[in-house]
Amino acid sequence: MKARTCWNAVCTVEDLVPESGIAVWTEDGPVAVFYLPHRLPALFAISHTDPFSGANVLARGITGDLKGEPVVASPLYKQHFNLITGVCLEDDSVRVKTYAVLLDGNRIVLETADKQREAVAA
């Protein structure tokens, strides 16, 4: 059975930085949202936590593309993460969580696990 999820507004378009990332706090913990205006779709969301250091820093990495795939480089040890799949390019056994993200009017909405409803269901 698919886990219950919900969509939450996390910030507005004004908060985004073109070609870069910002961090938001969600029920699921810290999430990095990237805005790459030259791609379609232009929004990507992955966990903000760098799996190699445990620090919450991925939104502060440099974005770009490698072989056409959108990536962010961890600012600590420089591993690249695919923004669509979350897979680490240097070590494909490592993967960060990815989130569906949409533009709803002026708001950025993110799909995360619905902790409250899960709790009720349990």
Binding site: V24, G29, L36, G54, A55, N56, I62, D65, A73, L76
Partner: protein, 835 residues
């Protein structure tokens, strides 16, 4: 069948090299190998011994590791001298027991010769050979002011340099009328003397010490045969070496009249089961006191033990190229012209401090020897002519005349025969290099790994690169200089494109000259180039996404995602009031506080959202950003200079502040460090910086392209006795030339090493304006200095820019839960656990 036993006595460079060669050979499987070392440390690099005083440890100098020995099945017994050798029973004795052998290798090296001078046993008299010797010298130097080296040869001058690096006033006392009497002639020796005296080392020639007694003003007094004397706190004897042949002598092996274990071409002694290699061995009545011939003997013996009938040691080239106290000295072949009929060509430029002498055969066709002082750039070419007997050009004098005096014909790698020795330490010929390239090696690193070329003394680095590049080019291998998959250009190309086409954004550059969206390689490079060219704020909207996180947030990210802050403290000078502000801010935000190596204060543990608040306070107190996060000028370190110091000859602090304020904020391919010392004692360690300035009585000496850190490099003396204005102008030019032409993340030291033509070329460009670009370089630097802005000041004043410093944009109060803290030595530090 049980294995035979091979015992090696001596664990020095040559002994170690022999083991490396032997264990890689088939015969190694037949032997148990047992090694005895007298010293307590594993074999280390004695050639670079003086680096022990400038930061290298035994581990840095070590030739191998204990693990390597274990892995090869070699039993290594250090700190265990062999005291007796019983040839009849094929047995050696140590304080710990008796050991039988089938084959024995003596690699016992040499010991320093101490002339029989009365008083030489004084506790502050030393020799210079082992790490223990150096430890003892260092201990003695701690409360001494001066030191004397007895012996002005190669090793003696190394020792003098070591004393100097310990902060002593160094003296060299030589019996002969000149320094390095074996390698140099009168003119060469005189020039070398002049140069090292300029560096503050006192040279005393034609002095024979009669006795050493208690001193009046120092610990010791040396009396000389001419009635003069010298007072000093310690003495280092470096008056030559003697082969360590005591064991061989006691056991009745044939030894030379003046010492040395007699060996034949197979490095075997008068006992067929005993062999000797390195400085203890006497071959053809000669002792070889250099490492390269020792290595050749080691290789020969390894082959001999593998029953290679052709293996033979046939003598070795004793040519040497070295830098003594920063002065180039080279000596090739028959340097003194002792071959009958030999003729000389000499070039002596007292102005520039260059001396070159060629010794040519009677028929004028071949080069027999050469002497170089002050500039070794001709060494490689001359050595190849001499070693390979290559026919000299009809105007051989052009080989040593300065360029531009009729065009010196350089000997391109193509002119070298296949047999030409490129690396004499590891005996690698041009043919060997071609061989590994044909077998698939396609770059310099590969050739080095495959052949070991240039991994010994490193003297052949430039020549090796030339040969490899030339061979690769001949085979049509294009060496890719592309920055990354987005730009088919080098950093230098991109700089040119940006500058010439007036490009001001990354987007324009990549759409016109690249492809894709960019990456973490090209974006910061372009960001840096744009900053250098146009000097716009690095947080201008177009530039934000180009920067590494440290540049974006203008602080240094630490392992837990927090940042450290380094305010600029120009020249390391700070008022008590400002120091109090730093303390107050650190206290308020509970920042871990540490003094940096660059005379500043580093404040650790600030969160993203705290950064602008902290900087508001620092700016209000008059601080500016220190650019510790940027590929740009970090600090200009200084000593206190003539204002306070009784030795200082110029105001080093004033100059350091001036330099720091001029170059702060300039974006470069990598970080840039500078230092200013107020006198030749060099307390600011300027010679380890990208730009080092040392005060003289007449102005400033400028050193360039030094480096500390991972790959230390002494800076090269670039210009002397400059006025304040000349100094600034020269640095302006070099800095801008570096910024324009260096590769990504290339420090000035590596940039210089890769610059075709090296130091001489750089001098021509900067001091003689050979490219006609100096006016433009100066103008560019002036423009940057004029448009400087403190990035933090601009950032805290701009609400849009401040928005970037929110930890979580939707929950400003949310603390980052992974940042856990504990207390250590009275300060806060992160709990070190990663997920």
């Amino acid at each position: 069948m049980s294995k035979k036993t091979l015992i090696v006595i001596g664990n020095g460079m040559v002994g170690h090299h022999f083991l490396e060669q032997f264990v890689a050979s088939p015969e190694a499987a037949e032997y148990e190998i047992l090694v005895f070392g007298e010293e307590k440390q594993l074999a280390y690099d004695r050639v670079h011994l003086s680096e022990y005083f400038t930061g290298s440890t035994h581990a840095d100098l070590a030739m191998g590791t204990a693990d390597w020995y274990t892995g090869q099945g070699i039993k290594l017994q250090l700190n265990e001298p062999v005291t007796a050798l019983e040839r009849d029973q094929r047995m050696v004795t140590t304080p710990k027991g008796n050991y039988g052998y089938d084959e024995l290798v003596l690699a016992t090296g040499s010991f320093p010769f101490v002339p029989p001078i009365e008083g030489r046993e004084h506790p502050h008299c030393f020799v210079y050979r082992t790490l223990d010797d150096l430890d003892a010298i260092r201990a003695s130097a701690q409360d001494g002011k001066s030191g004397v080296v007895v012996g002005g040869g190669l090793l003696g001058l190394e020792a003098a340099n070591a004393l100097r690096s310990l902060g002593l006033q160094a003296h060299v006392v030589e019996f002969a009328p000149r320094l390095m009497p074996v390698q140099l002639d009168t003119d060469g020796g005189a020039l070398l003397r002049h140069k090292i005296e300029e560096l503050g080392v006192q040279v005393h020639t034609e002095k024979a010490t009669t006795d050493i007694v208690e001193g009046e003003n120092a610990r010791l007094r040396m009396n000389f045969n001419d009635g003069s004397h010298l007072e000093t706190d310690l003495i280092v004897f470096s008056a030559g070496i003697r082969p360590q042949d005591a064991l061989a002598r006691a056991s009745g092996l044939e030894v030379g009249e003046r010492g040395g274990i007699v060996v034949n071409d197979q490095c075997t002694t008068s006992d067929p089961h005993i062999h000797a290699i390195g400085e203890c061995a006497l071959w053809d009545q000669r002792i070889f006191g250099l490492v390269a011939p020792g290595y050749t003997m080691a290789r020969t013996l390894a082959s001999v033990l593998n029953s290679d009938r052709n293996a033979a040691f046939t003598g070795a080239d004793m040519s040497t190229k070295l830098k003594l106290l920063g002065v180039d000295v080279g000596s090739i072949g028959d340097a003194h012209g002792q071959t009958p009929g030999a003729r000389n060509i000499r070039f002596n430029d007292e102005q520039a401090g260059h001396y070159r002498r060629m010794v040519i055969s009677a028929d004028g066709k071949t080069l027999l020897g050469a002497i170089l002082v002050g500039d070794n750039s001709h060494y490689d070419t001359l050595l190849q002519y001499a070693l390979n007997g290559i026919a000299l050009p009809s105007n051989p004098e052009t080989l040593i005349l300065p360029e531009g005096q009729g065009g010196a014909p350089t000997l391109g790698p193509d002119a070298l025969p296949e047999t030409a020795s490129i690396c004499s330490c590891h005996n690698v010929t041009k043919g060997d290099i071609c061989g590994v390239i044909d077998a698939g090696c396609s770059d310099l690193a590969g050739v080095k790994a495959e052949t070991k070329a240039s991994t010994g003394c490193g003297g052949c680095t430039a020549l090796l690169k030339n040969v490899v590049d030339n061979e690769l080019e001949k085979r049509g291998v294009a060496v890719s200089k592309d920055l990354c998959e987005h730009f088919p250009y080098s950093r230098q190309d991109l700089f040119h494109l940006v500058k010439v086409n007036g490009i001001r954004t990354f987007r324009t550059l990549i759409s016109q000259h690249g492809k894709g969206q960019g990456c973490d390689i090209c974006k910061p490079v372009v960001g840096s180039i744009l900053a250098t060219c146009w000097n716009e704020h690095i947080l201008a909207t177009d530039h934000v996404p180009l920067q590494d996180t440290n540049d974006t947030f203008m602080a240094n990210m630490q392992k837990n995602g927090t940042y450290s802050i380094v305010p600029r403290i120009p020249g390391g000078e700070i008022t008590p009031d400002k120091l109090i502000v730093l303390g107050e801010v650190a206290k308020e935000y509970d920042l871990y506080t540490k003094i940096t190596g660059g005379q500043r204060v580093d404040l650790f543990g600030a969160t993203l959202s705290e950064l602008p608040e902290i900087w508001e306070k620092l700016i209000a107190a008059g601080f500016e950003t220190g650019h510790a996060y940027g590929k740009s000028l970090r600090t200009v370190k200084s000593c206190v200079g003539s204002t306070w110091c009784r030795y200082g000859v110029q105001d080093s602090v004033g100059m350091a502040i001036h330099l720091e304020n001029r170059y702060k904020g300039l974006r470069a391919p990598h970080k840039v460090k500078m230092a200013v010392s107020g006198c030749t004692r060099e307390c600011a360690e300027a010679q380890s910086k990208d730009f080092g300035v040392i005060a003289t009585e007449n102005g400033w000496n400028l050193y360039v392209c030094g480096n500390g850190g991972m790959r230390p490099r002494h800076a090269d003396l670039f210009a002397t006795d400059l006025s304040d204005e000349e100094l600034i102008r020269t640095i302006d030019r070099v800095v801008m030339f570096y910024v324009r032409t260096a590769d990504r993340l290339q420090r000035t030291s590596v940039w210089m090493e890769n610059l075709e033509g090296g130091l001489d070329y750089l001098k021509k460009v900067i001091l003689e304006d050979s490219l006609g670009i100096c006016a433009e370089l100066e103008e560019h630097m002036n423009g940057i200095a004029d448009t400087y802005q403190c990035e933090w000041k601009t950032a805290v004043e701009d609400p849009e820019k401040r928005k970037r410093f929110r930890e979580f944009v939707n929950l400003p109060e949310q603390k980052d839960p992974v940042q856990q803290w504990t207390t250590e030595r009275g300060q806060r530090r992160p709990v070190l656990e990663s997920a």
